[in-house]
């Protein structure tokens, strides 16, 4: 029964897709739908960053800038040069990939976390450019009047239509990530993360692979940025500061480093929580994120997706059993 085997293999992916895609059928509430849309664009960025951090073991502290390239690329090309939004999105993604390559080639040849330092600087440069290049970016005032996405007569300015579009793309990226992790390339990335010399002597071109995954994650982030601005019709530099980059890294760790599904749960939590906290006091958000990050690293090193491991550990402690230690799940995504 190949169909049954297929269903069993992809049960979580299928279930998640059905639930998320049917959401607009149950609510037409613009606020709820917008939160779900932001969750989708956040997920796109986090999926890419999760591949980079969890699989290849490299940290980017400038991922907000890649999203910013997509956002501003789309905004500038569509409002100033009246370009087709889809073409603008594509060109922005190409630009993000090219920039990622430029940063990655020199830094990823080196061992250690040089990429983190380089991207930290890169993120700041992009932010300064967004603020200072007023003739192009309109400075801190930002750019408004960004058109909605359309295909023929379908207008994705409609919240429900946009939901299906943005989640369709996010689900596609989720599928790509799941497949990648379980492929020859994914294994080579995890391998070079754990034992770079061994990976090299088995024929893995480690620096090429690392640059490649950085470029993929930059493209994911750029596309997310483009979708975002076509939805809110406005962009300003404050969305793309170092703080956002740090929040993205936090999301990856809290969700589950190296686990593709961790990106889903992490994104959901990190979008919903601030919305909830906003009702009390905006300033709590950073504090809560910080505390959550610390607690995650102490008690849930595998992230939210390893919750079962924590439950097992606690249960074991209460029983005082002498069973062997519970090992965490492998850092990889199931299907």
């Amino acid at each position: 029964m190949p169909i049954l085997a297929f269903l069993r293999r992809h049960v979580w992916y299928i279930a998640f897709s059905i639930v998320i895609l049917s959401a607009p059928l149950f609510t037409g509430n613009i606020y709820y739908l917008s939160i779900l849309a932001f969750m989708a664009t956040r997920l796109m960025i986090v999926l890419g960053l999760n591949l980079l951090m969890g699989q290849a073991g490299q940290i980017s502290l400038g991922h907000a800038a890649f999203a910013g390239i997509g956002a501003y690329g789309s905004a500038i090309m569509t409002t100033r040069w009246s370009m087709d939004p889809w073409l603008a999105m594509l060109l922005s993604a190409v630009l993000a990939a090219a920039v990622a390559g430029l940063i990655g080639v020199p830094t990823l040849k080196l061992k250690g976390h040089y990429l983190a330092m380089a991207t930290l600087g890169f993120g700041e440069i992009v932010y300064i450019l967004l603020v200072q290049l007023k003739w192009l970016t309109n400075g801190t005032d930002g750019i408004g009047g960004i058109p909605s996405l359309t295909i023929g007569s379908i207008d994705f300015g409609n919240a429900q239509m946009f939901h299906w579009l943005v989640w369709g793309v996010a689900l596609l990226m989720l599928r790509i990530s799941l497949n990648l992790v379980d492929s020859r390339v994914g294994r080579s990335l995890r391998g070079l993360h754990r034992a770079e010399i061994a990976a090299m002597s088995l024929g893995v071109n480690t620096s090429f692979r690392k640059v490649q995954v950085l470029m993929v994650s930059a493209v994911f982030a750029s596309i997310a940025g483009s979708f975002y601005v076509h939805y809110v019709h406005y962009v300003s530099p404050v969305s793309y500061t170092i703080i956002f980059s740090v929040i993205l890294v936090t999301t990856v760790v809290i969700g589950g480093l190296g686990n593709v599904w961790g990106a889903v749960w992490g994104s959901a939590l990190m979008i919903l929580l601030p919305e909830y906290l906003k009702r009390y006091n905006q300033d709590y958000t950073q504090l809560v994120f910080g505390v959550m990050l610390i607690l995650t690293m102490i008690f849930l090193p595998g992230g939210l997706v390893s919750f079962r491991t924590l439950v097992a550990k606690v249960r074991e402690r209460f029983r005082g059993s002498r069973a062997g230690p519970v090992t965490g799940p492998e850092p990889r995504g199931g299907s």
Binding site: S188, I197, A198, A199, M200, S201, L202, G203, E330
Partner: protein, 249 residues
Amino acid sequence: MSALSLSQVSAGYGRIQILHDVDLTVGDGEIVTIVGANGAGKTTLLKAVSGLIPLWGGTVTFKGSPLARSSVEARAGLGLVQIPEGRQLFGPMNVEENLELGAYSRRRGGRPFREKRDEVFAMFPRLGERRRQQAGTLSGGEQQMLAIGRALMAEPEMLLLDEPSMGLAPLLVKEIFTTLRELNSRGLGMLLVEQDAMIALKLAHRGMVMERGRVVLEDSASALLDNPELQAIYFGQRGGGGGARTETE
């Protein structure tokens, strides 16, 4: 014709030169071992061959083509596969995934993965039993078996082995070396760096003794085993002064 040949190779780290004008050949299907005390430059030599460190001078050729400019992964693609010191397994990945990564470089005319994997499992049945187990949780002997198996998945024409006996019980060392002999009888050439000179020379066809980055003695393995001077220095026999002792932990 020799498969691997080094001529006047010198190399080092930073400003410190380790290897001085090393000449070495390994023929097709031949096992050559490099023995010597700690710090003699054995591992450095292996790194120079596999490309992990650049050459300062001299040439390395493999199957007739010069390697000086090829990367580590390109050399692996040519069939020159290193089993690094300390095994370097992909710890959180399971046995089968380690083997899959071993078959990473799809060499032209390569055999299908399953066929190679089953061959490795036939050679090391214990790996077959533990195919879903995380590599990091295997015992030392099993880990060394996996390191060898993983290298075999790359369909090597010559293995570069760095201290395969390290950290293993004598019985396991014996088992590993029996396997190496079996692999060699199928035509696989090896360049073997080993502190346990006795067991290495028993396996090898030829041996080289290194001291302070130079080859000081080169002979057939059996002749080296009988060499009284060498016995005194390296095998810790009566009359022997300092020098490395055989590793037996």
